[in-house]
Symmetry: C2
Subunit: 193 residues, 2 copies
C-alpha cells in the first residue's frame, strides 16, 4: 500500500459506527493535492501495461484522482459521467442507474456517446469502493459503448462491503490503493497488502 | 489568451442559439487533460504573487481545473463545495444558495467549517462564468468563514452575461482565461485579450 495514503487514513480518517469511513479531510471534500497526485501515479503504474486510452469516472468526488491518473498515463482524456438531467445535453447519451447508499437515492448517470468511441480501452477510476454501485453503473456505460474495460482503480475500498469482492470474483483487474477491513471502536483497521 | 484554449474553443466549441457555449468535449464532460494542466498553470501564474493558501471550487465540473491550479501553486489544498445534503455530513457547515440557470433549480452548496479556517487566503476557481451564481455562492462561503478572497480564476467567461462584469465592478481580482463575446450563426466569437 502507498505509505502516504496509509498515513493519511490512520492520522486523519475517522471511523463512525460500524461502517462509515470518513476521509473528507484529504480525499473527497478537502483534497490533499500532493497525495492525490501520488495516488494517480500509483494507479497509472498499476495499469501501465494495459494500454489505457481513456479514464472514466463519475462526478463528483472521483474527478480529482481520475485526473491525476490520466495525467500520469500521459494525458489520456478523462470523461466523467454526469448525474441528473440538465437542459443543454441532448438525447445522444448512454445511461445507467446508480443507487447511492450514502444519499439513499437512485441517480441516473450518463455519458455523451461521442466521448466513448467504440473499441476504446477504458480504465474506471473512483475515490471509494463500498457496495460498488457507482463502478457497476460505469461498467454498464462501458459495455453499452462497446468499449474494452481494462480495469478498475480505487483509492479506498471498504473491504467489509461487497463491491470489491464482486469485481475480484468477476475476474476484472482491480486495484485498490488501500482496503479498510473493519472499524473497531472508531479506529480504522487497514488490510496489510 | 492561452493559445491552446483559444484553439480548443474555436475548433471544438459549439455555439447554440444566442447564449449556449458548449465546450463539453474538452472542459466539462470530456476533459482534455493536457489542456486542463496548462490552464491550471496559467491561473496559478496569474495569482503567483497573491500568497494563495487554498483553492476553492464547487462540484462538479470545476474540480479538474481547480486541482491543476492547486498543483501549479505548489500543492496547496483544494476544497470543493458540495451540493445537496448527504447523510454522513454533520451540521457543522457553511452554506449558500446557488441558482443554476442550466438546470433551472436552486442548489444549496456547503463546506465543512473545519476546511475553511479563519484567515485563509482563498482563490476561487471554476470552469465557467455566466451569470456568476456559483462564484457568488462560493464568495459567501469565504465571507462566512472570515477568510480572505484573493481572487477568482475562470477558464471561460460568457462576456455577454453579467457574472464577470459584476466581479470587475466589485474590484475583485478576476482572471478569465478566455471570454466569449457573442455567438453569431453558431460561431463562437472570442474577445481579443
Amino acid at each position: 500500500m502507498m505509505e502516504a495514503l496509509r498515513k493519511a487514513i490512520e492520522e486523519q480518517g475517522v471511523g463512525l459506527e460500524k461502517s462509515i469511513v470518513k476521509v473528507d479531510s484529504f480525499l473527497n471534500h478537502r483534497i490533499d493535492v500532493a497525495l492525490s497526485t501520488e495516488m494517480g501515479r500509483a494507479l497509472a503504474a498499476a495499469f501501465a501495461e494495459d494500454h489505457v486510452e481513456l479514464v472514466l469516472t463519475a462526478e463528483a468526488s472521483g474527478i480529482a484522482v481520475a485526473l491525476t491518473t490520466a495525467q500520469a498515463l500521459g494525458n489520456v482524456p478523462l470523461v466523467f459521467a454526469k448525474k441528473g438531467d440538465p437542459l443543454n445535453v441532448g438525447p445522444n447519451v448512454y445511461t445507467a442507474n446508480v443507487f447511492s447508499f450514502t444519499k439513499q437515492v437512485m441517480n441516473t448517470i450518463r455519458v455523451d456517446r461521442s466521448y466513448l468511441p467504440e473499441g476504446t480501452r477504458v480504465l474506471i477510476v473512483d475515490d471509494f469502493m463500498a457496495n460498488g454501485e457507482a463502478v457497476e453503473g460505469l461498467r454498464k456505460l462501458v459495455m453499452q459503448a462497446h468499449c474494452t474495460l481494462v480495469g478498475v482503480g480505487i483509492c479506498v475500498e471498504k473491504g467489509f462491503q461487497p463491491g470489491g469482492d464482486r469485481l475480484r470474483a468477476a475476474g476484472i483487474k482491480y486495484v485498490p490503493l488501500a482496503v479498510v477491513d473493519a472499524i473497531e471502536d472508531g479506529r480504522i483497521v487497514l488490510r496489510e497488502m
